[in-house]
């Protein structure tokens, strides 16, 4: 268990630099079948993704729908099997895990989903919802389970705890439901949290509250977090690094301020242009955004996948060869021929 206390703060800091999750050239392809029999190609949802997440680090994966971030996330959670490549968690490769190993893994990773109501079984009350992961994780003593449930609810600021234990999901507001989802993700005291658009279905005024809660939990428990979103504006409050994903690839990686202030990849620039801030002048200008739509993952364009929409295309290069990864400034990587 890893609350940061003054006793283990040195240990935590030492650990902080080390890598917890390592993704190496991950590919997740789904086979398309014609009439249930014939092979009709692959949906290459994740097609060559490499990155690391350190202990206690929060990273954001930003991309639009159809870029493969959901499939990436589910593979990290162990729900999908990688077609190629490795997912290495705490020095153990996911594909080498046996049943006991899988149980060890699931207890160390928490999952916060997008739809708070859908994420909770409607026929279980709060106590039961929170108890399930504990039972599966092998916590046999009832007192121990109840103690951990109470602690989890207090951490997500749902008190008085006893008021909420017998309630069913439909009796709670959206924000409260999402807190229960977070509590459930935290209850096995994981080292790693995967949050898939955790606030996009909540009201504006509640979003910030939940993001602050997640951020606080991350600091207290020294959690590593992957925060998946398409809303760039929230990223600066809750992440240290950003990975920008497009059509199954990571096109840019870097620290938050590097990406938000000096984006390099044309797609990242487009995302930033497209994000609005409350300013009356917006109504007077048109936004310059790349035409077209994200490509199909079955037949992605040759070369750089963004080239059909890119205004800075280098003919003969971008449409032919897939770009390598360059590092124009330390810690800021981009897969674009512009930076050769």
């Amino acid at each position: 268990m890893v609350a940061v206390t003054k006793d283990n703060v040195a240990e935590m800091q030492a650990k902080k630099g080390t890598i917890l999750l390592s993704i190496k050239d991950l590919r997740v392809w789904f086979e398309l079948r014609r009439f249930g029999f014939g092979h009709a190609g692959y949906v290459k949802a994740v097609d060559g993704v490499t990155f690391d997440v350190h202990h206690g680090e929060a990273v954001a994966v930003v991309g639009e729908s159809g870029c493969g971030k959901s499939s990436l996330m589910k593979t990290i959670l162990g729900l999908y099997k990688p077609t190629k490549g490795d997912v290495v968690f705490d020095d153990r490769n996911l594909k080498d895990l046996d049943t006991k190993g899988k149980r060890w893994f699931h207890a160390r990773v928490g999952y916060v989903q997008q739809d708070p109501y859908g994420a909770l079984p409607p026929f279980m009350n709060v106590h039961r919802i929170l108890e399930e992961p504990l039972i599966i994780g092998g916590v046999k003593s009832k007192e121990e389970r109840d103690r951990r449930i109470t602690k989890a609810l207090e951490e997500v600021k749902m008190s008085p705890v006893d008021d909420f234990l017998p309630k069913f999901p439909h009796m709670l507001s959206g924000g409260q439901q999402q807190r229960i989802v977070i509590a459930r993700a935290m209850i096995m005291e994981p080292k790693f949290l995967v949050a898939d658009e955790p606030v996009s279905m909540l009201d504006a005024s509640v979003r910030v509250e939940i993001l602050k809660l997640l951020s606080g939990l991350q600091k207290t428990h020294n959690l590593s977090v992957i925060y998946i979103t398409h809303d760039l504006a929230t990223v600066s409050y809750f992440s240290e690094r950003i990975f920008v994903m497009y059509a199954g690839n990571l096109v840019e990686k870097g620290k938050v301020r590097q990406i938000l202030d000096t984006p390099l990849h044309p797609y990242t620039m487009a995302l930033l242009t497209g994000t609005s801030e409350p300013d009356a002048k917006n109504a007077e200008t048109f936004k310059e955004i790349p035409p077209g739509e994200p490509p199909s993952l079955v037949n992605p364009p040759t070369g750089c996948r963004f080239h059909p929409r890119c205004s800075k295309i280098i003919a003969g290069l971008c449409d032919v060869e897939e770009p390598q990864e360059f590092e124009p400034e330390p810690g800021h990587l981009v897969s674009c021929w512009l930076y050769k």
Binding site: S205, H230, S236, A270, T275, N282, A283, K287, P290
Partner: protein, 319 residues
């Protein structure tokens, strides 16, 4: 009081719904003005009654509608006095049309999109099929959908494309006003920006007015000429966009503005404690009082609408 230059004027619009637990006061005395070729944004969170307001304007009442009263002047004429048939012929889709929430998911899956866009023209304008399809092609041009998509089915289109089709459907009868209910909430950033580009172009080229209903303050600034903030069935602030985004007046508006995360900002965003009241059996007095940081004794009474520098705000702080 000349109302001729005002395209739309709503006075004391009320719409309640009857439920087993009591009457839901969804729209509780709304006053709103809109000139031609202007866009007003109705800003509010879920449960404030903004979708019900759209339905109230277009008289799309559900079966359990209760109290429904007020005055809606379109170009000076009170359409609340119209019979159902008059309303259908003269207002719905001829004067005012609507793109409802999640319209892109509400397209008929077994009908080609071209036919769906042509349908309102055939029904409301009485044109024949060929002419209607020609009009639909023109609409596709306005909203930026390639012409050959006329013969495609909804499942062949992406989310952004389908939303544009829905806008085309609302556009084909050349209405003066289009109501858009959360037009981009389910769409990605770039698609969202595209849709707003379309709306801006329509406003500029076809001189259409818009009522944009949304909870997203940031994107609302893309289209807004005026902003109306709605809370618990009432409009609590009405202002022009420039002044609103610079500095909102009502405490709720201020908190909403403060809760928007910014790309380049140093301030941590704020949030509002508690949650909006249920619209059944509302307590008397100011409805925001129990969450308001500036609450004082006068707030036990329902505040009046106070005018300040051409802006309207429903708050005792400005009396």
């Amino acid at each position: 009081m000349s109302q001729n230059n005002k395209l739309l004027r709503i006075e004391e619009l009320i719409l309640y719904f009857n439920t087993t637990q009591g009457a839901v006061q969804a729209v509780d005395g709304v006053n709103l003005d809109l000139d031609s070729n202007r866009a007003v944004v109705i800003l509010g969170e879920s449960g404030c009654g903004k979708s019900s307001l759209a339905k109230a304007i277009l008289r799309l009442l559900p079966r359990n509608a209760g109290n429904y009263s007020g005055r809606i002047y379109i170009n000076g004429q009170d359409v609340m006095l119209f019979t159902e048939e008059e309303f259908r012929q003269n207002v719905r889709w001829t004067s005012i049309s609507m793109v409802p929430q999640a319209a892109m998911n509400a397209l008929n899956p077994v009908m080609r999109v071209g036919d769906q866009v042509a349908e309102p023209a055939m029904v409301h304008l009485g044109v024949n099929k060929t002419e209607a399809i020609a009009m639909a092609k023109k609409m596709f041009q306005h909203v930026g959908v390639p012409e050959d998509f006329i013969s495609r089915y909804p499942f062949e289109l992406s989310g952004g494309m389908r939303q544009r089709v829905a806008i085309a459907m609302a556009l084909i009868t050349s209405p003066n006003l289009i109501i858009l209910d959360e037009p981009t909430s389910a769409l990605d950033v770039l698609t969202q920006a595209n849709i707003f580009n379309v709306l801006k172009r329509l406003k500029r080229e076809l001189s259409i007015s818009f009522i944009l209903i949304t909870h997203d303050i940031a994107t609302s600034s893309e289209l807004a000429d005026d902003v109306a903030v709605m809370y618990a069935g009432q409009i609590v602030e009405m202002s022009d966009a420039k002044n609103f985004f610079k500095e909102p007046l009502h405490p709720y508006s201020k908190k909403l503005m403060a809760s928007v995360p910014r790309l380049h900002g140093d301030k941590e965003p704020d949030f509002i404690v508690g949650h909006p009241p249920s619209l059944i059996n509302l307590a008397p007095g100011c409805r925001f009082a129990d969450r308001c940081p500036s609450r004082f004794e006068k707030c036990v009474q329902d505040p009046p609408i106070i005018e300040k520098d051409g802006r309207k705000v429903k708050c005792w702080l400005y009396s």
